[in-house]
Amino acid sequence: MSALLEQLARRQLLWHGDSQQLAYQAVSSGFPELDQQLGGGLPASGLIDIQTAAGIGELRLLLPYLRQQQQQSQRLLVFIAPPAELSADMLAGAGLDLSQLLIITPGQPISPPKPAGRHTKAAKKLNAKQEALWAAEQCLQSGCCATVLIWPAAISLAQARRLQLAAEQGAASMILFRKPSQTLSLPVNLSISLQPDPQGLQLTVLKRKGCWPAAPIRLNMQSRWPALCLADAPAEPMRQAS
């Protein structure tokens, strides 16, 4: 029996409940309570899956991490297919180096656009998605990018696996921003889900490689972003849209 256990353990098919070793190198997230929960912080490399609605503070949560990733290695930050125009004020204000930043918006016409029918439009959309994933893989593999942030419409298991391998090869991390409804579990280093909270964010760890998932925690952003937190008593909407 013990021989069988030993054999399974050697093939890394068996996990000990008491040995919680991080499968990745951690970088402080800038939020002490989160670092404590995650055993040091966010992964320095590999995929990080964030299931979130847009505009609740998901990027603010990552800003200290992104700054550290960029400064430690003097490598690039890459934003692929962001949902709208990025604001330089916000990123520079957070201490990111704008000259070490790339924005990739696939689906731009290369040759002068021709009158497109409905069919070609659909093909173009598909093409843009493939190009986004291709660009992400190239960036991760190259070894000159610290972190790649991507807003994919959807991602399959095989694509995530491929990106994870590329990220390991280039020692880069990749952050996937997905809608919370997508419940497919991906081979990622860390998967978290975010809910809005009056004082900041509510964070649930869905999956952590090599560890138990931690309990849900509330992150208080009051000190950092006082203007983007509600006062203690939740106020009623002051104005109804007419």
Partner: protein, 472 residues
């Protein structure tokens, strides 16, 4: 004593064409001139029994599936020039002798190579690499070497006696003399160059025109023979005619490799790299198509350029089959190696600039950009997409621009009307466009909707509400 080597390439245009098409060996191909005489033959045409100067009718009778190509003197000259450029790295003084010859002056080079044998060894290895058929010979003067090379004498020697003996035994058909003059000589019973050289020049001058005397003078070395030696070219320009028209852009990569390899040879020889290639595709009916392939880092390796070319060719739909390719490089730049940290744990497989070229080649230049902060108060003007990886210009003595911290991460390109209930938590912040057009002023507020999203809103002077971005 001066010593010259003459290289004669009997079928330069044809050999160059065959290099690009591997499977053309079994095909009998001939190059014909305006008078429908065969000028150049490939090996399978020779095997079929064809001879040079043969007429088209007898050629077609001997070999029914003979492929014919017109003789293009410009094309041949280009190939000859490129051969000279490639030999230039081994031998210093090379003069072109159109249409198919190169004159190499040896006496300077023998010192460098310490003898004729090592020199010839290096040169013949290079000639073998070029893969053009050639005939060669040494000679005391350019014309003597040429005369011997035309007879395929293959003399590589410094021995004046041997050279002059071979020259004296040469038939007049191998010389530069015109056909009527040769006929005239034959009637006089003069068949070899030795007989002609034995005659006193004064007697010849009385009977024949000055052309013969000038030729004989140069052949002997009595008259000065001016040669214009080639200079290494600063750019790269090669044309490749395809044996078959190519209609699939992916297949174009195969002939392109040949051109890129030649480019790599020339670049590595000069220890240079280049930042931009111009690839021209020629079509029979449509106007030619020019592609510009750039590398921000600068490359010289054929493999790196091929990858960039392939990425761009993938996106390309050809209007019709391509029959020719031309590769041009206008500027060479010195090679630079990026410095890397000695103790860096992770060696990057490529630099940021290389990555940039790769992304731009596949996605187009417009798809990859950087972001700069402008000194503007209007949010849509404060952030500007810029050329990627360019450091922002900072005036000396001043710190960089101070960023306005409370700005949303995402700005909508076009503000959307507000359609839901929001809780205003901060504001207003009044922004006016340039010129203080009070009618276009906007009061900005930060608001939170019921889903907990933080929106950046503004109210216009006419009390309409819009969402301009969201805090992420």
């Amino acid at each position: 004593m001066a010593l010259f080597l003459y290289l004669h390439f009997p079928s330069l245009q044809l050999d160059n064409l065959q290099l690009s098409a591997e499977n053309s060996q079994n095909l009998a191909i001939a190059v014909v001139d305006q008078q429908h005489q065969l000028l150049q033959l490939n090996q399978s045409a020779i095997n079929a029994g064809l001879k040079l100067q043969m007429g088209l009718a007898s050629a077609a009778a001997l070999c029914p599936d003979l492929q014919l190509l017109p003789y293009q003197s410009e094309q041949q000259l280009k190939v000859l020039n490129s051969a000279a450029q490639q030999l230039y790295q081994l031998s210093g003084d090379i003069a072109l002798d159109p249409p198919a010859g190169l004159i190499l002056r040896l006496d300077g080079m023998l010192q460098l190579y310490s003898g004729l044998a090592p020199y010839w060894q290096a040169l013949s290895a290079k000639l073998h690499e070029l893969a053009y058929r050639y005939q060669y010979s040494c000679g005391a003067t350019p014309y003597a070497a040429k005369c011997l090379a035309y007879q395929q004498a293959a003399l590589i020697t410094n021995d004046a006696k041997r050279l002059s003996a071979a020259l004296h035994a040469s038939p007049l058909t191998a010389t530069e003399l015109t056909a009527p003059l040769q006929q005239q000589m034959a009637r006089l019973g003069i068949h070899t160059l030795g007989q002609l050289l034995a005659l006193p020049p004064a007697e010849l001058a009385r009977r024949f025109d000055s052309q013969l005397l000038s030729y004989l003078g140069r052949l002997r070395g009595d008259y000065y023979h001016a040669l214009e030696y080639v200079q290494p070219e600063s750019g790269f320009s090669r044309y490749l005619e395809l044996l078959y028209d190519i209609s699939d852009s992916a297949v174009l990569a195969r002939p392109l490799v040949k051109l890129l390899q030649q480019l790599e040879q020339q670049l590595s020889r000069a220890s240079c790299q280049c930042h931009q290639l111009l690839l021209t595709l020629f079509f029979r009916d449509n106007p030619k198509l020019q592609l510009c392939i750039g590398s921000a880092q600068g490359e010289y390796k054929a493999a790196a350029w091929l990858q960039l070319c392939q990425l761009q060719l993938q996106n390309l739909t050809l209007p019709e089959p391509v029959y020719g390719l031309q590769l041009d490089v206008n500027r060479f730049a010195g090679q630079q190696r990026p410095t890397e940290g000695l103790f860096a744990q992770q060696q990057a497989s490529m630099s940021a600039l290389q990555l940039l070229s790769l992304l731009q080649a596949r996605l187009g230049r417009a798809a990859v950009s950087g972001l700069t902060l402008q000194n503007q108060h209007l949010p849509e003007q404060a952030s500007q997409r810029s050329l990627p990886l360019v450091k922002g210009y900072v005036v000396k003595g001043q710190a960089g621009l101070a960023a306005l911290a409370l700005r949303p991460a995402f700005l909508l390109p076009k503000p959307q009307p507000l359609t839901e209930a929001v809780t205003i938590s901060q504001g207003p912040e009044r922004l006016c466009p340039d010129g203080w057009q009070l009618g276009a002023q906007r009061d900005y507020y930060i608001g939170r909707n019921r889903q907990g999203q933080w929106l950046w809103l503004f109210r216009t002077a006419s009390q309409q509400w819009f969402v301009h971005g969201w805090f992420s």
